[in-house]
Amino acid sequence: MNLRQFTLNRKLALLAVALGTLALLAQPHRGPFVKLDSRELAAVVEAEVDHVTAPELAAWIVEGRADYRLIDLRTAEEYAAYHIPTAENVPLTGLADYPLLRNEKIVLYSVGGIHSAQAWMLLRAQGYEAVYFVLGGFDAWQDEVLFPTLPADADAQARAQFERAAQVAKFFGGEARIGVAPEAGQAAAATAPAVASELPKLTAPPPMPGPATPVAKKKKKEGC
């Protein structure tokens, strides 16, 4: 080894030790802390591009689209009783660690929509861009997709739309209802379906593709 190389190695060693010493202060992991662009998020909310409606989601499922991840934020029991087809069950606290790619389209729903809106905020803060929650949550899915109700005083256009909604409801194992006039408030409440007993069983689900990146039996992607 000649002298120039010897000095080079010394310089490299010195550089390494210097960088290593400075690294004592380093905190490379972001941890749970996130940065929020409050203005941007407010704009997104106001432009109403933060959510999808239940019928829109239903249309995606019927079309057989596989470009989204549907996340069910409810409890495991609620999920087991009934969940929207293609949904994955992830509790709010597990969302941060759940394997979701930042370039995926993510749709969230909870019982009424509040938790899903909160989860929307959390995911946006972590850098996910294409995040949406289902407006009205699972309640809206029941009311608008599974058991769409046609008011008695509906016009022709509404009836036509209702026909389509009835087809979709049948696809998901629900059924369309012809409702009473809206003034009879108590009667309308009486005809509203009871929650658990009338939900369609998911044993023979409508034909649909699995989620975009299924968990089991897919080719090993990472690792060496």
Binding site: N9, L12, K217, K219, K220, G223, C224
Partner: protein, 174 residues
């Protein structure tokens, strides 16, 4: 025939820094490190799937590399990476005048025995790498840089294992 390097090898620290920068690039671009043994698994899975597809897909280990049939087993990140390794090494070898058909062995051993040992070593290496979920590239380098517990344990044991048996195989190298 033992090749004499026409160009001296690069300073090991500089070579290491070069490797480290490539590894860093992999972290920053792909969010994963380098590797090698996985490419061999993909290839074996593909070959087995050609000859005996039912067996390959049913096998718990190979099945993961065959997948569900939607993509070709060889269309894997590591396979492309390893092809790149071959190309890069060839380029360096040609530039340095070190590329030639040869058998690397010590002066006291015959080519036949050396090749037999190479084959045996490869088989051992396969078991070691698959048990450990990686080899020196994937575990030691990648996991080492990320302070991965399993990788450091693995790396330590590689040196232990090698030094433990080195004396018994010195006839192959000296």
């Amino acid at each position: 025939m033992n090749p004499r390097p026409d160009t001296p090898y690069l300073n090991p620290y500089l070579a290491g820094i070069g490797l480290g920068l490539v590894l860093l690039a992999s972290f920053v671009i792909m969010g994963r490190g380098l590797g090698a043994s996985g490419a061999f698994s993909s290839t074996v899975a593909w070959l087995t799937n050609l000859v005996a597809p039912a067996h390959a897909q049913a096998n718990e280990y190979l099945g993961e590399y065959v997948g569900d049939g939607s993509t070709h087993p060889l269309k894997a990140w590591l396979v492309f990476e390893v092809i790149g390794v071959a190309a890069g090494a060839l380029l360096s070898g040609i530039l340095a005048g070190r590329a030639r058909l040869a058998v690397e062995k010590g002066p006291r051993v015959t080519t036949a025995i050396r090749l037999a040992c190479a084959f045996a070593g490869g088989m051992l290496m396969a078991f070691g790498a698959h048990l450990a979920r990686g080899c020196t590239s994937g575990q030691a380098l990648t996991g080492g840089a990320l302070l991965n517990v399993g990788s450091w344990a693995f790396m330590l044991m590689v040196f232990v294992g090698g030094y433990a048996v080195a004396w018994f195989f010195r006839w192959q190298w000296r």
